[in-house]
Symmetry: C2
């Protein structure tokens, strides 16, 4: 079947940059073409992906970020796609947007494809291999996988293999699947059925601080996008494919409390000098009850109640909590037995990090001078980031703390028994897209074509993306179309991608890019 | 005056190893000789001290520790003193004792001089200079001191200068003062009035795990010591010289609590997966009330009440707490206003370190897998280390925790909602020497001769030393004779010694080594 259709595509193909509209028959072929290409190039696809993963990509590392951006721009250009780096005037250190465009004459629809190429900061000492030394394993490390060499062309590839590296799952996986699809289409002259605009963000993990500025200063490039597809995040914990209509928002803060102005010998001063680690523990303990419910006044007051559609979607979700608890080694969960999906519809307060003095081999007999907690706050529809931070700050004040923004000077120290420095902020609101819009239904159809009946529809993902900029500011629908395995250790050491999930991404994107022309003009 | 006496000393001097007993006149000269030598060799003394400080000396660093030990042995030998490294059979990695001996024919008394040459582990990233790159400052960093070059011979030395390096205060300072005194005595042929045995420990900061074994296997070397002088610790917080008759004991533990078996994305799982940092905070908060009083059941039950002598000594202590609070930037202290000296007579429980995930630039959006606290427990007379640890462990159990000694396996995780790994142990009891023994009074007299009427007599120092081995196991009196400045940042980054305190050490040791022959046979 493929062969005859390919012939048609060749005839229709018209050049390097501008793709021709395809017939319905050719569109059908998109998934088959990509699948066939993948099956005959598995080693090469993994090799190319590893090349991308080897580029350090922390947003604050300007040189590294630029290498990633240039690599991606040139990869698109090599496929005959118009691509450029968007930059902000006079802000050369802000990670650029990699912007690319496939124009399809006659297409009635423009898809915006969002991926982010930056990754979370790393603590290399906690990684089994270097975070940017992509390493292939025969399966997950915790399942007894062992390291193995990269496959040579033609060598059989086990889809249970995992590739370990920072951003393997979050969020270079979509790039690792996208480029082979575009290569396959180019080689077989398959034309997408929509215009496609690629928008690759380089500071998502640093909070996408400049995303709004990028969108507003590039309205001419993005205003005609009809729907944004966020290629990001993991699939459902059950392993089933997932399509998500919203995300939690996010904000956070760092709280530092103070003991003596220098670390003191715990023998000479212990029992007399205030111990910041103890003070911080007592402060954090007031913020939640033993069941994980947040005790900060007003924390749940602005939550927008869920509607019938969400309730129905929730009811239809697979009940995977018990398997998940077993997998994660958990004998209890927060929220007194409520399901994970229910808990994701409430804002959360999480101790992401604690630090005071040292533990383990470096522990010393001191009363440290400070103790610091990094608190993450996840938001749901209705919560305003600044308001939520203010609630937590007011709570800290009610515990007797004087709030400062910088390390206190001597006079301040002597004036207040308890001092808390609160820093950080920013973040963004939660977002949710309506399920009944036609173009949304078209995408749901295409995803279902690739994913099958296993597809899980999820009202709101736990992870946060700056989706509100697209839905609330730009006024466009936005869906999250994840491909990574749920156990990919994203944001953590030994992040990885299961190869089968990379193959799923290839199937999925091919289906999306060749879905039948819809009703939307 | 000095000149005539020096002549007498020269006549009395009899050789390299064995010193002659000195006349009362020559003994008087000891302090003057040392003072004169110091005044004419200040740059050289600082230079030699810096050479010793440049040797890395963490007990676990076997190669570094050996370099220190050999350096000290050879320094003693160069002064004509019998010196050797004591080792334990078949334990070549245990830091050796540097043992040296000055035999004085006719002396009726043998002093044991204890110093430890190892230092606390370092977190180099928190030091202004490398911990083993001794750096001279014009005064304390926090008082606006600036780095300066080492003085050249003859250059005036400001006694307010500070030298920064690991162990500058704790506990190489005594070695930096001791060697010049011995050099001065050798050059001027001054003979000590007591036999002196030097016993330099190389793993005090690692808990002196082998000290008992060393003492027991070297009874022939140490059994004739009449009184142990511990050259260690800082002087009184007021800056006044100090003599201490006891120390707190010490023990501790590390407590790790468990969340999910791998770090989880705080968005996807936050509000559902248990957060170990929160659990640990809630656990620690149950251990003390807001005033710093320990709530662990039985924690204060075994405290031996202080007697009249201690009460009198306490009453005579300078009231320095308010100055100390001002200096340390503290607007409150634990214990509802009780004095530091009173608080040191109670056992303490201190959060020495906290760690979970990361904070600051490395903070990631995760629910960490674990959270760890290192707890220090200081003991007073009557407390048994193991019993005190058991009390804390029982408290943790009462908070619903299942106790393990190693990271829990999967089945254990699934069986218990709350799991705490408790590790560490060891430590030693507190110790106190009676003040009314004649030989103790002789030492008090010699210290007072060097220190003047400012001398503070302290029943029990806050810091811990393995003094109980000498007082309770060996049955000998033991005093602590500190010289370091109290603000020396011992056990912390930017440890330092004030040069004036080094000069005090020289005066003090010279007085001790030439104190009048006593009543003790």
């Amino acid at each position: 079947m493929s062969k005859a259709i390919l012939t048609i595509s060749v005839i229709l193909h018209s050049g390097l940059v501008v793709f021709n509209p395809a017939t319905a028959a050719a569109q059908q072929s998109g998934a088959d073409v990509a699948r066939a290409y993948r099956e005959s190039h598995e080693a090469e696809i993994i090799g190319d992906f590893a090349e991308l993963l080897a580029l350090p990509n922390v947003a604050s590392d300007s040189a590294g970020i630029n290498r990633n951006a240039i690599y991606l721009r040139d990869a698109l250009r090599a496929l005959g796609i118009d691509a450029e780096l968007l930059r902000l005037a006079d802000q050369p250190r802000v990670p650029p947007i990699v912007f690319g465009e496939i124009r399809v004459p006659g297409a009635t629809r423009t898809l915006g494809v969002y991926v982010h190429y930056d990754g979370q900061p790393v603590d290399s000492s906690r990684w089994t291999h270097g975070p940017w030394q992509p390493t292939l394993y025969t399966r997950a490390m915790e399942s007894g996988g062992v390291a193995r060499s990269m496959p040579v062309p033609g060598e059989p590839v086990d889809p249970e293999w995992r590739i370990y590296a920072r951003s393997a799952g979050d969020d270079k996986a979509p790039l690792g699947a996208l480029l082979p699809v575009l290569t396959a289409f180019r080689e077989a002259n398959v034309t997408p059925t929509s215009n496609i605009k690629f928008f690759f963000d380089g500071e998502e993990e640093a909070g996408s601080q400049h995303l709004r500025e990028y969108l507003e200063s590039n309205r001419d490039r993005v205003d005609d996008i009809d729907i944004w597809l966020f290629f990001d995040g993991p699939v459902h914990q059950s392993g089933r494919p997932l399509l998500t209509f919203g995300v939690r928002g996010v904000t956070g803060m760092e709280v530092t409390v103070y003991g003596p102005n220098r670390p003191l010998h715990s023998g000479h001063y212990g029992n007399w000098a205030p111990v910041p680690g103890q003070m911080l523990a007592e402060l954090l303990a007031t913020m939640k009850d033993g069941d994980g419910n947040v005790l900060v006044e007003g924390f749940y007051d602005t939550v927008e109640p869920i509607g019938d559609a969400e309730r129905e979607a929730l009811a239809a979700l697979p009940d995977y909590d018990e398997e998940l608890k077993e997998e994660l080694g958990l004998a209890w969960t927060e929220g007194e037995g409520q399901s994970l999906a229910e808990r994701l519809l409430l804002p959360s307060l999480t101790v992401r990090g604690l630090s005071s003095g040292n533990v383990g081999r470096l522990a010393r007999n001191v009363i440290p001078a400070t103790a610091t907690a990094t608190l993450g706050i996840r938001l749901v529809k209705g919560n305003d980031p600044q308001h939520m931070r203010e609630l937590v700050e007011a709570h800290i004040q009610r515990q007797g703390y004087h709030i400062v923004r910088e390390d206190p000077d001597h006079a301040t120290r002597l004036a207040y028994p308890k001092i808390a420095k609160i820093t950080g902020g920013g973040g963004y609101r939660a977002s949710r897209t309506a399920m009944d819009v036609p173009i949304v239904q078209e995408v749901v159809g295409a995803v279902r074509a690739a994913a099958g009946d296993d597809l899980v529809l999820f009202p709101a993902l736990g992870g946060s993306l700056p989706l509100y900029l697209f839905t609330e500011v730009m006024g466009k629908p936005a869906l999250i179309v994840p491909i990574a395995n749920h156990d990919d250790n994203q944001h953590a050491p030994d992040e990885n991608l299961r190869i089968a999930n990379l193959w799923y991404g290839i199937d999925l994107y091919a289906a999306l890019f060749t879905m039948p022309p819809g009703a939307t003009p």
